[in-house]
Symmetry: C2
Subunit: 269 residues, 2 copies
């Protein structure tokens, strides 16, 4: 039987829980990427983790023996940046405006590049946008500023709502955990840029020049990866090296096209 | 017509949004307390805010011209302390054990006084209890430790789930906002010690020696104050100096016995 890697024209692959767990490469994953590069098969790493810039992901993957360019990376800030450039408006005069960010460098950089002015302190309480992502430097002060700004009318945009972040020592709180605090305090639900929003999958398809029906999305989470693939109309592969189990796939009714132990199984005959 | 203050034998009164807003006394509230003291009417300040110890509340109220003793204060840590002393066990051998706290001094002190050992760092990830309350020194690190410990089996107890904390500059994220982050990251719901848990109202009634049917609970929040009063079978007064509005009382169906503009109205004929 044909291996999965030969049955699709392009691959959209999650990073955390599929390629690596925090600092540890998952065995077999580098081999698959090397195979795709040798065979000239297009692929995009699609991550909901907004803590790093594409350039930082390139460096991180190089250490694992995977050589790619920043164009191979799509994350929620890219969707946010494009939506801002295409004229997302905050429902206020003079949009473009000011933003308060709860997040790390990857998110902050792309919001600056999209032309928004980052504000802090008192000014942030009147920001036009509040962006919330994974932030290992979260403080109560940041949480408070975000809540006050949203209650004052800021547009509230989350990178993603992954409840947890998989690491070798277990699950840490993900962006979704921080978003839950802001949502509770502000009484408002965010617009979500990352998976399961199909927009981010569409951006990855565009980048590869591959149509939805010819692509496979690979991920470890049903509620984000697989749900995004279903919404965008691409086939999906759930791998069991991260958050979700095969049993959960049955129970939740979010059904991937394929289930395999790990990414390496793409090469299995 | 008789004033409300003459129609009950004891009063259970919320602090934030009823007596003061952050640092500002709400006009008329000190006069009501002084009247009760002169008339020998028993009262308890019942707050879901666990950031301060009873002694700290005494000092804070003195600055507002209200002289009380620590016995006049009941907050979630008192319920937690009593439950621990009465043999709450963590479902593990050797309960009594270790605790990780996301919270401020008021919570930390009473957990120590109840005989639990506070742990941090690596040890905290194996704590037997995780307590979560309002914490203006919240960090991602604390959130992570709480989530990992709960996922490792710790008993998860929240002081309260008030989404917001009323201040003169608007609503800040309350303990509920922090609890939402921990709940999202851990995938577990907490046991809640504070209002709307009727246990805390019962503790206040005991302390005053007044029966439920002869007491009035005064608060500014429907979902905590008024709900706790209803659950404990005491009459309730919603005042409009804090979070909830009279319209919300109609919409939510959490119906207080009385609605007045402020605490001062207790003295109105």
């Amino acid at each position: 039987m044909t291996s999965l890697v030969d049955r699709y024209e392009g691959f959209i692959i999650d990073l955390d829980g599929v390629i690596y767990l925090l600092h540890d490469l998952i065995p077999g994953s580098a081999g698959v990427i090397n195979h795709m590069q040798e065979a000239g098969i297009p692929f995009i790493f699609l991550t909901n983790n907004s803590s790093a810039t594409p350039r930082m992901y390139v460096d991180r993957l190089r250490k694992h023996g995977i050589e790619i360019g920043p164009g191979n990376i799509v994350s929620p800030p890219a969707v946010i940046k494009r939506n801002l450039e295409m004229g997302w408006t905050g429902g206020r005069e003079g949009a473009g405006g000011t933003a308060f960010v709860v997040g790390e460098e990857g998110l902050i950089r792309q919001i600056e590049e999209a032309g928004l002015e980052l504000v802090s302190g008192e000014e942030a309480k009147r920001a036009e946008y509040v962006f919330v992502g994974w932030d290992r430097n979260l403080t109560y002060e940041k949480l408070k500023t975000a809540v006050v700004a949203i209650r004052n009318g800021a547009r509230y945009i989350a990178t993603n709502t992954d409840a947890t972040y998989p690491t070798p020592e277990g699950l840490w709180p993900g962006a979704g955990s921080i978003v839950a605090a802001v949502t509770c305090g502000s009484g408002r639900e965010p617009e979500v840029a990352g998976k399961p929003n199909p927009q981010i999958v569409e951006l990855a398809l565009e980048r590869m020049g591959v149509e939805a029906r010819s692509a496979l999305l690979v991920g470890d989470r049903l509620d984000t990866d697989i749900a995004a693939g279903l919404a965008a109309g691409v086939d999906t592969l759930l791998v069991l090296t991260g958050v979700s189990s095969a049993l959960e796939a049955e129970e939740t009714g979010i059904s991937p096209t394929h289930i395999r132990d790990d990414l390496g199984a793409l090469l299995d005959p």
